[in-house]
């Protein structure tokens, strides 16, 4: 698949980033760094994250009203569903042509506009399919979506498309396996096998153009591998598949295997993450561990949610403080030193106002500690 963005520039961005990290460590001089800059040029239009968000929002608005505008003229000319498909096809062609033109002309590089146009293009391409097959089977929809998403991912290296491709692929595999009695029993193992396979193939490939996509792939593989072996997911999923209705899902066969994998997978992730200096593994392992704690509590829990929160909080504080003290001097090739400047200090402050700073006693009942929702604070760093 021919790549949409200038591959040489993409490679140069990666080289410049590395050189910048060496500059920060004083391993390159300023002069050398500017030499690197001039010998590895890149001329993409890369706005900051907020301009990107703005561009994305307004491109989405523009695309949808383009659709509305076009429908006004085309829809009336057709009877039945033909008009909708016609509008969708015209729009899809228009969006993709616009996308290609802007990438060439404005040197866009995942700048918000191109992302939105790509999604709009893919979305409109799906419409005729669903109009044609009224309520198609899952596997057919998955296959059709893949024929769109995978080429799009290969050409544009877009993060959402690679995410979609992976999710659709997993759904497809699970869906096909469930059509057979033996297959249905082995779905968790099938998912784990597939994730492991993709993970190791993905590790073998090293490409600057797809570097961020590869990160998404490996993260997703780790997550699905863990969920495939997680007791909670397997037990509840099993109950769901067998149309079980009741408060407690029935026990599953091979339960002890899943007990073991629920506990061991996160630990292995963390250990290998530290040994291989692989941040994706480490962070996924930590989050997976939290989910394992949740799994344990769900079936064997003897504490109320508040008690869990408090004990979890205390143990997290004690654990992190202990490790921070332990790593005062770097040990075991680990360090507590900040890498790079603190970029998210402002965001952290805002999170504090969202979660910690609620007033102590509105209406005299609510206590401090604030409302506790979302829980997404951790991934923000």
């Amino acid at each position: 698949m021919k790549k949409a963005y200038n591959t040489e520039w993409v490679t140069n961005i990666a080289i410049l980033q590395l050189a910048e990290s060496w500059l920060a460590k004083n391993m390159l001089t300023e002069d050398q760094f500017s030499l690197v800059k001039s010998s590895f040029p890149e001329n993409f239009y890369k706005p900051g994250i907020f301009v990107k968000i703005g561009l994305f929002i307004f491109t989405t608005v523009a695309c949808s009203f383009c659709g509305g505008f076009l429908s006004l003229f085309i829809l009336g000319a057709f009877d039945g569903d033909g008009g909708v498909s016609m509008v969708a096809i015209v729009l899809a062609i228009g969006f993709i042509l616009m996308l290609e033109f802007l990438i060439k002309d404005r040197k866009l590089f995942h700048s918000g506009v191109d992302n939105a146009l790509l999604y709009a293009g893919l979305g409109t391409m799906l419409v005729p399919f669903f109009v044609l097959f009224n309520n198609p089977p899952v596997w057919l929809s998955c296959c059709f979506a893949l024929t769109l998403v995978i080429p799009a991912f290969l050409r544009y290296a877009d993060l959402l498309t690679v995410f979609a491709a992976f999710v659709i692929l997993i759904t497809l595999i699970a869906n096909i396996m469930m059509k057979f009695t033996l297959g249905a029993a082995l779905v968790p193992f099938g998912i784990m096998l597939f994730s492991a396979l993709i993970y190791f193939v993905n590790r073998k490939i090293s490409s600057a153009y797809y570097a961020n996509c590869q990160l998404v792939i490996s993260t997703l593989c780790l997550i699905t591998f863990y969920f495939g072996g997680n007791y909670y997911c397997v037990r509840e999923g099993n109950a769901l598949l067998n149309d079980f209705i009741g408060p407690i899902a029935p026990q599953i066969p091979f339960a002890s295997i899943f007990y073991f994998s629920t506990l061991s997978i996160p630990i292995l992730y963390v250990i290998f993450g530290i040994r291989e200096k692989d941040r994706t593994l480490l962070i996924t392992g930590l989050l997976a561990f939290a989910f394992s704690v949740f799994t344990y509590r769900y079936y064997f829990g003897f504490l109320t949610p508040e008690q869990v929160l408090t004990t979890a909080g205390i143990s997290m504080i004690v654990f992190s403080v202990a490790v921070i003290q332990f790593l005062k001097t770097p040990k075991l090739s680990l360090t507590d030193e900040k890498m790079g400047k603190r970029k998210l200090a402002n965001l952290e402050a805002l999170i504090a106002s969202q979660h910690l700073g609620q007033s102590p006693m509105e209406k005299g009942v609510e206590f401090g500690g604030g409302n506790f929702g979302g829980g997404g604070a951790g991934s923000g760093y």
Partner: protein, 322 residues
């Protein structure tokens, strides 16, 4: 492409010497793995979980556990945190202080939150402040403002601003702006606008006088969003539209102006989005209905393309260098 090939490439282009290249290569292999942010995130979440859980537990068991014991324990925790933060604090300056101690800022955060829990408990159990809820909110607000400046802590500053807002009966936390405030009341709307503008003014002074200039973002962001959203809702719902139109438009213009000054593009985004809503609403409100059905769709199509063009060329149009 790997570090090795890149180094070979640099060497070939005569940018680095071969000794330097091997030096960098050894560094890349042997450099330690930083778990700084992972540990900080666990710590931060731990504080969040602990204080949330504790608040509920105390509330539920208020009749069974000994009050004195509870108050004593939380007081000890609070005191410990403040003492720890105080003993490890840096010399006070009006600039940003890079904290030398690794834990003091988190200790301060925990201390402040524990203080809130303790105060809430005291009020609930002993009615220390009677029915003067205002005072109960005001005390931590003052304390937090003091701590924020004294220890140079942005998180505590935004807790203080939150306290100030709730003293006035408002919610300022970014994600709860709409759900937390009763914007059907004209008084709430105008209070929100005044508070927001006041916070912006404080942020402006902070920046101009160079008094903890890095705090200005927090003031601008919290105050700006509060004032802008309150103005918009006033514009939608209230009778005196012209006032709210003016304040919303002025805020949007200010955001864009400020983003140009400080290259803070989050304010550009805020200014553009709020501005777009204000202008669109006003146009649709003024024009007669017949005209609207005619221009409706093309209006959105053309204007959003216009905004995209503006954003794509924002650096040229606003003269932002960098």
């Amino acid at each position: 492409m790997s570090v090795k090939t890149i180094l070979a490439d640099l060497e070939e282009k005569k940018i680095i010497s071969s000794e330097q290249s091997s030096l960098i290569e050894t560094y890349e292999i042997s450099k330690p793995f930083s778990v700084h942010w992972e540990l900080r995130s666990i710590l931060y979440l731990g504080i969040l979980f602990f204080t949330s859980g504790l608040g509920v537990i105390i509330y539920q068991n208020i009749d069974t556990i000994g009050h004195q014991v509870i108050i004593g324990l939380i007081a000890i925790l609070t005191l410990f945190c403040f003492v720890y933060a105080f003993r490890n604090k840096n010399e006070f300056t009006w600039d940003e202080v890079e904290s030398s101690n690794k834990l003091s800022e988190y200790a301060l955060l925990l201390g402040c939150t524990a203080f809130l829990v303790m105060e809430g408990y005291l009020q609930f159990q002993y009615r220390v402040f009677g029915s003067k809820y205002g005072l109960a909110v005001f005390i931590p607000t003052v304390l937090f403002f003091f701590c924020a400046y004294f220890f140079d802590h942005r998180g505590v500053l935004s807790m203080a601003i939150t306290g100030l807002a709730s003293w006035l009966g408002l919610t300022i936390a970014p994600l709860s702006l709409l759900s937390g405030n009763d914007f059907t009341d004209l008084r709430i709307i105008s209070t929100a606008i005044f508070l927001g503008v006041a916070l912006i003014a404080v942020g402006w002074l902070t920046m101009k006088r160079d008094l903890k200039a890095h705090f200005s973002f927090t003031y601008f962001f919290l105050g700006g969003n509060l004032a802008a959203i309150a103005s918009l809702i006033g514009l939608f719902n209230e009778g005196i539209k012209i006032m709210f139109f003016l304040s919303a438009a002025a805020l949007s213009a200010f955001f864009i102006y400020y983003s140009r000054q400080k290259h803070a593009l989050v304010f550009l985004l805020m200014g553009v989005i709020y501005g777009y809503i204000v202008v669109t609403y006003t146009i649709f409100n003024i024009l007669p209905d017949d005209a609207l059905s005619l221009i409706g769709i093309s209006y959105f199509m053309l204007t959003s393309i216009g905004v995209i063009f503006f954003l794509l060329n924002v650096k040229k149009i606003l003269g932002i260098k960098k």
